[in-house]
Amino acid sequence: MNTYLLLLHETVEESGQSSPDEIQATIAEYSAWYESLKRADRVVDSGKLTDEGGRRIEGSGESFRVLDGPYAEGKEVVGGYFVIRAQDYDDAVAQSRSCPHVKYGWIEIRQIDVLSA
């Protein structure tokens, strides 16, 4: 099994007033996906990132700078991530395509590179 990082990109927009039932229905979809992944022992880690966009640092010595995160101004942010186990990219895609997030944003899938002797 390999390990894959899923980055959940979303577009920040003025959220309309979803009704409590609509919010519940969306959560139920995500939760069904997450729980089925967990049951199959595919989840290594997961987390929501804070909304403010974080910090970006670059340069060293004299030119070292701290900037507001890459997403501070843009409309698109990474809302959170999952680290999952999968056989290969096809499998990782198969695991991710049922994630309800694809209805609201897009998912970047990256394999974590482990060099073995």
């Binding site: 409590p20 919010i23 959560i27 069904a32 967990k38 049922s98």
Partner: protein, 426 residues
């Protein structure tokens, strides 16, 4: 949309049905209890923000062990942030903060004590506030659905067939009036009966609308019916607020709701329904509350309607139904409120006791024929009686007219079906 994979219940922190909607009502109620009616300005925003937080957090970690405790703590934090930003005196702030902690608890894991026993009192205060005498019935229903029922303005607007902005204005006006009428509370002994009557009527109207929507394609709005049952039980089960007529309303809702799923595929008459598909749990609950409702001395319209509904629901077959008893109760009900709908239903029972000819004759007593020619329930019953008297073309005409006049797609479909049967038999 593909459905999510089936999961064994034990593994999943499943969300109880409508937990957000119901919890919205509870949070509104407790926040209003703490901050007073001036908080009507902002409590909905706090609750909405709280739900959006859940929407943003839960997908990554799953649903917390106690979703309601989680939501409560987030809402509490938001309310306290607001309080700090506001312009309250230091001492007032400290007092409200302490009250907030006391009523909303500290735990993210377990339910705060408030959410077991006392919560019902807070919600009842809110219900009485929403049914304040200064509001029209329509506004009472709308604002109850919004604040107690946790429905969105859009959802309420759909039920009332008005635009969301018109409904938003109506609810805002209602909230202003509630604020103006002072603190919300469970009425004292002097006003309790009058105000409870208003509350029960609002619940009854919600139930009627849920059970037979005036418009749209739905045969029934099960959610709205279930919501009315929930609220009616809140009133009926309360130590000081409960009353025999509240028990009777609960019984009535149970008996009708028990049969609701059986007619979900479209409108069919009681005669055609598969009685095995009726909900035995709701029937038992109805019997229990009907028994409890007998403790008083006053027979309310809810008592009579519940008894009629129980006769229908408890009868093993259509033929087995105690029509004489139903007819007696309709007579009593007509004496009580004299409404044409009651008279029409009375005629249905009369047809079973004395035959279709007598019933048709009685039906015509209701009002001059010209006025009734535009009344769908009248036309439906008239059509059925004419059919039973083999007056096929007149029956056909009455169904055709009802179909044209009704704005409910399920009623229209039923009328079309009947017309086809009548035409076939020619």
């Amino acid at each position: 949309m593909s459905s999510p994979p089936e999961a064994p219940a034990s593994d999943v922190h499943a969300l109880a049905e409508h937990v957000f909607r119901h919890h919205a009502g509870r949070l509104h109620a407790v926040l209003l209890r703490i901050f007073g009616t001036s908080a009507l300005e902002w409590i909905e925003d706090v609750v909405q923000d709280t739900f959006v937080q859940a929407l943003r957090h839960w997908p990554y970690r799953g649903v917390p062990d106690s979703p309601e405790a989680w939501l409560t703590q987030v809402a509490k934090r938001r309310a306290l942030d607001r309080l700090r930003r506001g312009h309250c005196s230091q001492s007032k702030q400290a007092e409200l903060t302490a009250l907030t902690h006391a009523l909303l608890g500290e735990s993210w894991e377990l339910e705060a004590p408030t959410f077991t026993a006392e919560i019902n009192d807070h919600v009842l205060r809110l219900i009485f506030g929403c049914c304040s005498a200064t509001l029209s019935r329509d506004s009472q229903v709308a604002v109850t659905l919004r604040l107690v029922g946790g429905r969105s303005i859009e959802e309420i607007a759909r039920a009332f067939l008005v635009t969301p902005s018109a409904m938003a204005r109506r609810v805002q006006r209602a909230k202003n009036q509630i604020r103006a009428s002072g603190p919300m509370d469970i009425p004292g002994p002097d006003d309790l009966a009058t105000q409870r009557t208003a509350v029960l009527e609002v619940i009854y109207l919600m139930f009627n609308e849920g059970h037979s929507p005036t418009q749209g394609g739905l045969v029934s709005d099960r959610d709205l019916c279930a919501e009315s049952l929930r609220l009616a039980r809140l009133v009926a089960d309360h130590e000081t607020v409960g009353s025999p007529d509240a028990d009777a309303l609960v019984a009535l809702i149970c008996f009708v709701l028990a049969r609701l799923d059986a007619r979900h595929s479209g409108i069919d008459t009681l005669q055609e329904q598969d009685r095995r598909s009726w909900d035995p749990g709701l029937i038992r609950l109805g019997v229990k509350y009907l028994g409890r409702s007998a403790r008083g001395t006053v027979i309310s319209s809810y008592h009579l309607q519940a008894e009629i509904a129980s006769c229908h629901t408890l009868a093993k077959t259509w033929e087995d139904t105690d029509w004489q008893r139903i007819l007696d109760r309709y007579d009593a009900l007509y004496r009580l409120d004299g409404s044409p709908v009651v008279w029409i239903h009375r005629c249905v029972a009369l047809a079973e006791v004395l035959g279709a000819a007598s019933a048709l004759k009685a039906l015509k007593h209701l009002a001059p024929e010209e006025r009734l020619r535009n009344y769908v329930p009248y036309l439906m019953v008239q059509a059925d009686l004419l059919r039973r008297l083999e007056r096929r073309s007149e029956a056909h005409e009455a169904y055709a007219r009802a179909e044209k006049l009704s704005s409910n797609a399920a009623v229209q479909e039923f009328c079309q079906r009947k017309q086809l049967t009548l035409a076939d038999a020619h």
